[in-house]
């Protein structure tokens, strides 16, 4: 065979592989509004940047006549490419090939590209669309999952790991996304659960649809398993590209800087946004936008535990992680879900050299038996742990209320915030004036001729004396009291001077956070 024939043979083999599960299977995939694995990769990556590897890998099944079957690429496409110039490793499970089921060779392809990402120190993106373990391969399929989980854990905090759920992802398979940093879901397409509706029905007699059990909305709103919710695959791909622009390639470098831009202060003017009465709500995301470059804010887990807001923005072109109480939802209280949400984000930012800006305005913790019984003690402790442990630059802005335990938890000076500023509207106190006055002046109120009148008077007295930033400032717990419009200037400067911040903690293998 000459070169010409050999080239023709290669082309034929490639055509076979690219066909995936064949026209019929592809039609089926499209009929339910899903893109094919290859289309997805090409849509996420820069044009012409995708390089595929292991196209000719053969599956390893020998039992149940599997050796007679040809599974192109063994149901997963792997390779490298770029997103807006940022290098990434990527893999996509191909549902058209044996339902995207995971066999030994399929897993081997995934672990190989993961190892690659670790060596090259670049992000890994995994697109999940699989019916689960390839039962015919038995225990080797399980081994495959285990190898992936181990690598997810090793890679955690070293390279960014992104999971995109674009189809079913059930049983053990869900644990790979769960171990990664960010999970993307699409309405009507993504389905994640440990035990599916059928099992639940036969064993427990409870009837529930796949969508209600583990659809995109459920994981974005209720469980918190997903970080980004999209209405369509296109929207999802756009979100992935956005995210990649904000994060560094690995834990040894910083995120790529962007050109500096000013916030749109006409639209987002702090004095217009924030009511002086601490009981009145506002959208804290507008405050974030009043601070960030071009008033851009990329929110994470928007629908889950909305009483705390987390996400990325840029200040002077540098990526910053924002954590902010949201008075618009549940008055911005801390609770089980919001503590968990913020703590994980703080650890992400700390791992990847992203400075943290904390905007404080909270009444405290959410009261209730359900909260106590759900373990608000140990979940709340995660937030203290994450802030205390973080060594990236930490800047705290106390806007209005900062009462009690909530004040400590929201990156106070005591948890080693590097810079704490407060607005004149800040109220830093051991508890809200009403509660404090009731305790301190209990006897005066009880013995007064008109207890209600006395109570009001004492609350007012307490408010005048303690509901301000100056008591904390007098002890040096607040570094500066600033006018709200100076906030960006304060943060810009704080970031400038803390660029070389270096803290070496006590020697240990790792801590034991209240997981």
């Amino acid at each position: 065979m000459g070169l010409k024939q050999k080239t023709a043979d290669l082309k034929k083999r490639m055509r076979e592989a690219v066909k995936g599960g064949g026209t019929k299977a592809i039609e089926k995939q499209k009929a339910i509004g899903k893109k094919t694995a290859r289309e997805r990769i090409l849509a996420i990556l820069d044009p012409k940047s995708f390089h595929e590897y292991d196209m000719f890998v053969k599956h390893a099944g020998t039992d149940f006549n599997m050796d007679k079957k040809f599974l192109p690429g063994d149901g997963v496409i792997t390779g490298t490419g770029t997103i807006s110039g940022h290098p990434v490793c990527i893999y996509a499970q191909d549902f058209t090939v044996a339902g995207g089921s995971l066999g030994w060779a399929h897993a081997k392809k995934i672990t190989k590209i993961m190892d690659h990402a670790m060596k090259l120190k670049i992000p890994i993106i995994g697109i999940n669309d699989s019916g689960g373990a390839r039962i015919q391969e038995g225990v080797n399929a399980l081994a495959g999952y285990g190898e992936i989980f181990y690598r997810n854990t090793q890679a955690s905090g070293v390279i960014p790991q992104i999971s995109v759920i674009l189809g079913p992802c059930a049983g053990g398979a869900v644990y790979s996304p769960a171990l990664t940093d960010f999970v993307f879901v699409v309405d009507g397409v993504s389905k994640m659960f440990i035990t599916g509706p059928e099992v639940i029905k036969t064993v427990l007699g409870e009837e529930i649809s796949m969508e209600d059990l583990g659809g995109a909305k459920v994981h974005s709103e209720i469980t918190g398993n997903a970080h980004f919710y999209a209405e369509s695959e296109e929207e999802c791909f756009y979100q992935i590209k956005e995210l990649v622009s904000f994060i560094p390639w690995n834990n040894e470098i910083k995120a790529t800087p962007y050109p500096k831009k000013s916030p749109k202060t006409r639209k987002f003017n702090i004095p217009d946004i924030i009511p002086a009465d601490p009981r009145q709500p506002y959208d804290v995301r507008h405050i974030v936008k009043a601070i960030t470059d071009d008033s851009e804010f990329f929110e994470i887990q928007e629908l889950f535990a909305a009483n705390i807001v987390i996400g990325f923005g840029r200040i002077s072109g540098q990526t910053v992680g924002f954590v902010a109480n949201q008075p618009l939802v549940l008055a911005g209280v801390l609770d089980v879900d919001s503590s968990d949400k913020a703590a994980r984000f703080i650890r992400y930012c700390d791992s990847f050299n992203i400075p943290l800006v904390t905007l404080v305005d909270l009444p405290g913790y959410l009261p209730g038996v359900d909260q106590e019984h759900a373990g608000v003690i140990r979940h709340g402790a995660k937030l203290l742990y994450a802030y205390s442990e973080a060594t990236v630059p930490k800047i705290t802005v106390i806007m209005r209320k900062a009462y009690g335990g909530g004040y400590i938890a929201m990156c106070s000076a005591h948890l080693r915030a590097d810079f704490v500023c407060a607005w004149p509207t800040a109220e830093i106190a051991v508890m809200g004036p009403e509660g404090a006055a009731n305790i301190i002046f209990r006897n005066e109120i009880k013995n007064a001729e008109n207890p209600e009148e006395m109570r009001k008077q004492k609350v007012k007295e307490y408010k005048n004396k303690f509901a301000n930033p100056y008591v904390a400032a007098a002890y040096g717990y607040v570094d500066a009291v600033i006018e709200p419009y100076e906030t960006r200037k304060f943060i810009v400067h704080a970031l400038e001077v803390s660029d070389h911040k270096d803290i070496i903690g006590p020697k240990k293998k790792h801590g034991i956070p209240p997981f």
Binding site: V203, L204, G205, E206, E221, I222, K264, R266, K267, F268, N269, D272, I273, P278, R279, Q280, P281, Y282, D283, H286, A305, A306, N307, P327, L328, V329, L330, A331, G332, V333, D337, P363, G364, Y365, L366, P367, G368, V369, D370, H373, Y403, G404, M431, G432, P433, E434, G435, N438
Partner: protein, 114 residues
């Protein structure tokens, strides 16, 4: 120049609820999860209920029978297992709300003691 055209942020004033934290009433939105949270009910040990759905296989007691703590009241099949339901306290059976073969749902009260 584009900035000038943009309107200041509008604050919606409708549909706020109030939330009480440390005697202070805050105006805010509530989440679905918060509204749907299950409210605490004290546990009444004398109301015997099942934790998972299943089928009643055998019943050992009748109304008026005296039972001791730990005594078998009935057998109930769930998760492909036969589960013995034992009396958590000494008492007298006030009523048996199920019969053999009945399918029961989660949290359903099957026997009442007094």
């Amino acid at each position: 120049m584009e900035n000038i055209k943009e309107k200041p942020v509008e604050t919606k004033r409708h549909s706020y609820k109030s939330l009480l934290v440390e005697n202070i009433k805050y105006r805010t939105h509530l989440t679905k999860k918060y509204i749907n949270r299950s409210l605490y009910k004290p546990v009444d040990e004398k109301m015997i209920h099942v934790f998972i759905p299943g089928t009643i296989v055998k019943i050992f007691v009748k109304k008026g029978k005296k039972v001791n703590e730990g005594e078998r009241l009935l057998v109930f099949e769930a998760m492909k297992m036969n589960n013995d339901i034992l009396s958590p306290v000494d008492g007298v059976v006030e009523s048996v709300n199920v019969k053999v073969g009945d399918k029961v749902t989660k949290q359903q009260i099957i026997i009442e003691l007094k």
